[in-house]
């Protein structure tokens, strides 16, 4: 009887000299370098759609560990599944993961910015809150 455990599968690196970065990770880090430079020079923000990259098995983890973990992590759920925003160990580089309401990853981005827009309070929401706050104050005054 043979079981699944008897089938040995190992993933070899394209680049067999270990200790060096995988080719894909190397390329993405180069792009991030350019984007970070642009952020400092011109203030231009940018993002990479992780789902658009042809990643090798293992590349994803390698990329995450190459970027490291930073100081900030935030999470919100506005009713369509959670979104997790984590600052990577590389300052100015954020890892944004959008889940759907079944907790599967719906989209994933690496954002190069001082703070992802999705964390900022939005004008529409502020206006709604302001309106609500004013109504509350008015009600209290009329009492």
């Amino acid at each position: 009887m043979s079981g699944l455990d008897d089938i040995h599968v190992s993933v070899t690196d394209i680049d067999e000299s270990d200790g060096r970065l995988r080719e894909n990770v190397h390329a993405i880090l180069h792009e991030i370098e350019t984007l970070l430079d642009a952020l400092l020079q011109t203030g231009e923000t940018s993002a990479i759609d992780i789902r658009s990259l042809p990643l090798l098995p293992g590349d994803y983890d390698a990329l995450a560990s190459a970027l490291g973990t930073g100081e900030i992590s935030a999470e919100f759920d506005g009713g369509s599944g959670p979104t997790v925003v984590v600052e990577t160990g590389t300052s100015g580089v954020w890892w944004v993961t959008h889940y759907n309401d079944e907790n599967e990853i719906a989209a994933e981005f690496i954002e190069v910015t001082r703070i992802p827009e999705i964390l900022m309070s939005q004008d529409d929401d502020i206006q709604d809150s302001l309106k609500g706050l004013r109504e509350r104050l008015q009600n209290e005054r009329s009492h």
Binding site: S46, S52, P57, G78, S80, I105, A107, S121
Partner: protein, 366 residues
Amino acid sequence: MKKQVTLGEQLRQRGISRRTFLKLCAVATSAMALPPAMIPRVAAALDKAVRPSVIWLSFQECTGCTESLTRSHAPTLESLIFDSISLDYHHTLQAASGTAAEAARDKAIKDFYGKYLLIVDGSIPTKDDGVYSTIAGRTNIDMLKEAADGAVAVVAVGTCASFGGIPYANPNPTGAVPVSELVTDKPIINVSGCPPIPVVITGVLAHYLTFGEIPALDSFGRPLAFFGESIHDRCYRRPFYDQGKFAKSFDDEGARSGWCLFELGCKGPTTHNACATKKWNGGVSFPIESGHPCIGCSEPNFWDGGGFYKALSTTTRPLANWTGAAVVTGAAVGAAAGVAAKRKRSAAKRAHHTVTADELKKKEEA
């Protein structure tokens, strides 16, 4: 008719914050395979978008395309139906059945005439007046023509609807044809694949919803955003191809090491689809990543391509006997020609008679 609410208004009424709306836009942008820089434009467009009515007709098909659609995770089918489109007829997914179902379709066609999006999966049999596939006593040809008349565009989902698929394969017993052979006066978007990647189906719908127009298409009518590049171009095993490292069987060292599957018949170089980047099952994997060569399911006539496990550079027909026969015939013809030439030579030799100088002299004198 009541005033149509935009998607932005609708979501706000349901208490969805702008932040969550932006998240949905980011997800939609990724699903449409657009660059992240497009997110603000997608948001602006979705804000003003109106839910389109969608009619889905299933013909000569296996329901694999619908199965695929129900596994879409970005956006999920539920959020697509409840938030973004109004799926007014789909005989597998809807609760109504029998006459009520047919009535729902008639009503949707009437109410949204000239404005609804028609989705078709499956090919349409045309032999013997289309009798090989009927719904409620009506042939597929009849139903397609009626529904296409009032549609703003037709989305052919799956290889059967796009290119004929397995019913169209040799010898095509039902005379099956793709949608494009029956509908010629409407824009057609071919979302091929057997089945298509779920997020590609929803991505195309999202594109129509967002921009109110059909996306840029390739020469086969497929959206360029998903079908613009070959599997081979985006394959993570491509470096192995370049290095000449190939798996020779499904259980050798090369297969275990994840080398290129070209020799095992991979059709990646001639196949255009988004499998290598969008992947399947929520982005988990795709056939090549799971160790199986691409069979080219999003290309026309892939069933008749000469075998899933034969390398692309090989012939599609057995040639060993053929070449053997050619050599034998060649030898026979060559032998005949050789013998004939030899005979000619000996005949010439026989006809040749020698002349002496004396004889010539005599001739001259005479």
